[in-house]
Amino acid sequence: MAQTEVVDASIGDYKYGFSDPEQYVFKAKRGLTREVVAEISEIKNEPAWMREFRLKALDQFLARPMPNWGADLSHIDFDNIFYYLRPTEKQGRDWNDVPEYIKNTFDRLGIPEAERKFLAGVSAQYESEVIYHSIREDLERQGVIFCDCDTGLREHPELFKEYFGTIIPPNDNKFAALNSAVWSGGSFVYVPAGVKVEIPLQAYFRINAQNMGQFERTLIIAEPGSYVHYVEGCTAPIYSTDSLHSAVVEIIVKEGARVRYSTIQNWSNNVFNLVTKRAQAFRNATMEWVDCNLGSQVTMKYPAVYLMEPGARGEVLSIAFAGKGQHQDAGAKMVHCAPNTSSAITSKSISKNGGRASYRGLLKVHKGCENVKSNVRCDALLMDEASRTDTYPYIEIEEDRVSIGHEATVSKVSEEQLFYLRSRGMSENDAIMMIVNGFIEPIVKELPMEYAVEMNRLIQLEMEGSVG
């Protein structure tokens, strides 16, 4: 089987291919031009097709108007952003090779020591480039590839080219085009047929330089009958000028495979977080997005599953927290392209201190897709009168023989719940925290334990001082 040969060959390369012989210290100029894009491609020593791909994407980005149907994006200044940064000269697989200041960053992010050692691979995107990468040996033996996307292109060119940009073409939307032009870093994951990756693959990243854009690109390929859980978590320090994060995540889930992609995102409050995430699920495959959005100034993110063949199942579980000055415009898309497919969307949002959380979702069932089942549930919790929540559920059903459920609720912290908890001695703040934690529990419980703890801690930080 040709596929297998490619994989085997790539594993061979892997053992010796980790250190990057090319060392560049480069900081791109601000602003976006053909020269900048060409330079990024050249520095990365990319094949011609990728260079052309980038330049074509740039044209598409420039040609497309700004989307005006969602959050206010008028404050993004594209000329004042760095499109490529590379902070370290060396990529290390060994923890010992990781520079000290990067380790300090991990310390501050609170990634437990035991976890770092236990995990199959930790790839940390730090100022645009993956600087640390490790893969446990047994994963390698199974033929699993987990590396940054640049390495994926370099070391697995055929595999990479076969799938890259096929799920989200550059011209899909303005920000997918932008990412396609200037992408850097992100993860490349390949799971061979029948392989179940037992521990989550994790990537922590943060953006860290003033005026810096981050355009990571992730591509996950799950061969038939395989399983993988990919986890990304990010925090970012506060900085003074607007910053842009625009990622693209493409996932292919082949027959009988299952992929779960979990995110805890906590950008600093000036970041525009405009992310395109999409998966295609084939026969009897399952794709699950668990998406937690805190922080940022504006987030627009609608993880999508295209259900391509019978038996495919898609699920999105999402939490959005909108605090002061924040607009979380998040949701999900389920596109049923085959009969006997099913999907479920569960969305929870919390708005506080004048924050605005919008659920924006698309449920589409193409003609001829009989026996589709879909259930959409969005619950919004409003913490005060100044905050806002909206629901934009777009439903396009072209087939009669389907079963569709939709339920939306808006609630406040109830006086009776508050009184009950306070009658047990809890302060008003503790009681509110407990109710809020309970509200998001159905989604948090789906996160790996350490992320669930972190998620609750982040929510707690956000909620602090919410009562007088």
Binding site: S414, E415, E416, Q417, F419, Y420, L421, R422, S423, R424, G425, M426, S427, E428, D430, A431, M434, I435, N437, G438, F439, I440, E441, P442
Partner: protein
């Protein structure tokens, strides 16, 4: 001189949504005693319970409530709890997504004002649950969410056992319980009886008083206590109902 550990209610008037429900209620519950408060529907029994715990909807317009000589009405509900007052709810509120385990542990931590080590908490809670014939799996269920009537009431008594209040108000704990559940709940309460605990058992029916022996019985009609007595009064109520007492209350001179 230290104040006696007793709850003293004096001339209490309470409005709910502008309507006066309690109309000058007087009652004293010392620790070490069990008092039953009986009365027909609408007499204001639950209003008293909520008012004592500090529900914001209940507005005290006159009178005072003292605990160990201090003004209870000045305290927020959580402070009342921390000071040793407990309310077993007639209709316990569901808190979806919050496990009983987390809820109980944070409650105990709040009451003590100090963290409770997991090992100690588990030991303590298991001991109390055994008494109430509750399965350990209960701890992973969401607070009152999908509980049967009996489970809710048992959970209330479990909280009372854990928090060890000095004054416990039980608001119609017997309502909605079958005879087995009533017995278990009552045994749970009886096991907690001590010189350090005063209990106010609020009930419509005398049934629960067959299991929890009250030292004193008070009958409430139209926002006031109209008669107080001992076990004999319970028996009279059982035999004759509330009508005669209402009659007497409304026509003090007699007919």
């Amino acid at each position: 001189m230290a104040q006696a550990a007793e709850l003293v209610i004096q001339d209490l008037h309470v409005n709910v949504e502008g309507r006066e429900i309690l109309k000058g209620l007087n009652l004293t519950v010392p620790t070490g005693e069990v008092h039953a408060l009986m009365g027909p529907n609408g007499s204001g029994k639950s209003t008293l319970a909520y008012t004592l715990m500090g529900h914001p909807k209940y507005e005290v317009t006159q009178g005072q409530v003292l605990f160990k000589g201090e003004d209870v009405l000045e305290w927020e509900p959580d402070e009342r709890a921390r000071r040793g007052i407990f309310l077993a709810f007639q209709y316990p509120t569901a808190i979806p997504g919050v496990s009983m385990g987390n809820f109980l542990r944070l409650s105990l931590k709040s009451k003590r004002g100090a963290d409770v080590p997991m090992s100690e908490f588990r030991k303590l809670v298991q001991e109390k649950m055994k008494l109430l014939k509750m399965d350990i799996s209960f701890l992973s269920r969401y607070v009152n969410d999908g509980f049967s009537g009996g489970e809710k009431k048992r959970a209330e008594i479990l909280q009372m056992a854990l928090l060890e209040p000095q004054i416990a108000i039980m608001d119609e704990t017997d309502s909605g319980l079958d005879i087995d559940a009533l017995r278990i709940v009552s045994e749970g309460v009886n096991a907690q009886r001590s010189q350090d605990l005063g209990v106010l058992v609020i009930t419509h029916y005398q049934r629960i008083l067959n299991y929890i022996k009250a030292d004193y019985v008070h009958v409430m009609v139209d926002g006031r206590i109209v008669r107080s007595g001992t076990g004999e009064l319970v028996q009279q109520l059982e035999e004759r109902g509330y009508d005669w007492i209402i009659e007497e209350a409304l026509n003090p001179q007699g007919v």
